[in-house]
Point group: C2
Chain length 78, copies 2
């Protein structure tokens, strides 16, 4: 039996954002443009360097047309 600590929320978000971005075939620039954010910011979020605010969580979710909860869920098992 293994108990793993849940990923900190910002890393979970980063992982889900990366997963979705790659699945859509979008560059960081493409996602940034759709979310109305800067490409460098998207890069930093993706590396877990940003403690992003709920407003930007929502912007990024809207860019993907998914719910914010999707982006904050535990990455699914493979």
């Amino acid at each position: 039996m293994s108990i793993e600590a849940p990923l900190p929320l910002r890393y979970r978000f980063a992982a889900q954002m990366l997963r979705l971005r790659v699945a859509r075939g979008w560059s960081q620039e493409e996602l940034a443009s759709r979310a109305g954010l800067h490409r460098n910011y998207i890069g930093q979020v993706e590396r877990g360097n940003v403690n992003l605010g709920l407003d930007n969580v929502e912007r990024i979710a809207q860019a993907f047309e998914v719910s914010a909860l999707t982006l904050l869920s535990e990455p699914g098992s493979p």
Copy 2:
């Protein structure tokens, strides 16, 4: 048929935080102390005045011992 826009995420969080805080019978001060945050900050979050970062979402979820997703869910129907 009525289609309601979902609440912006920060208001949804504020509503869920208030609901849980009252359900536990905690003052804002009590919650602040458990989350390691300032009482005034908790008050501002509760009024939807703060675009709070994911790190503080996590701190507040841990204070309640619930998942962050619980605090970001649509308030349930009555």
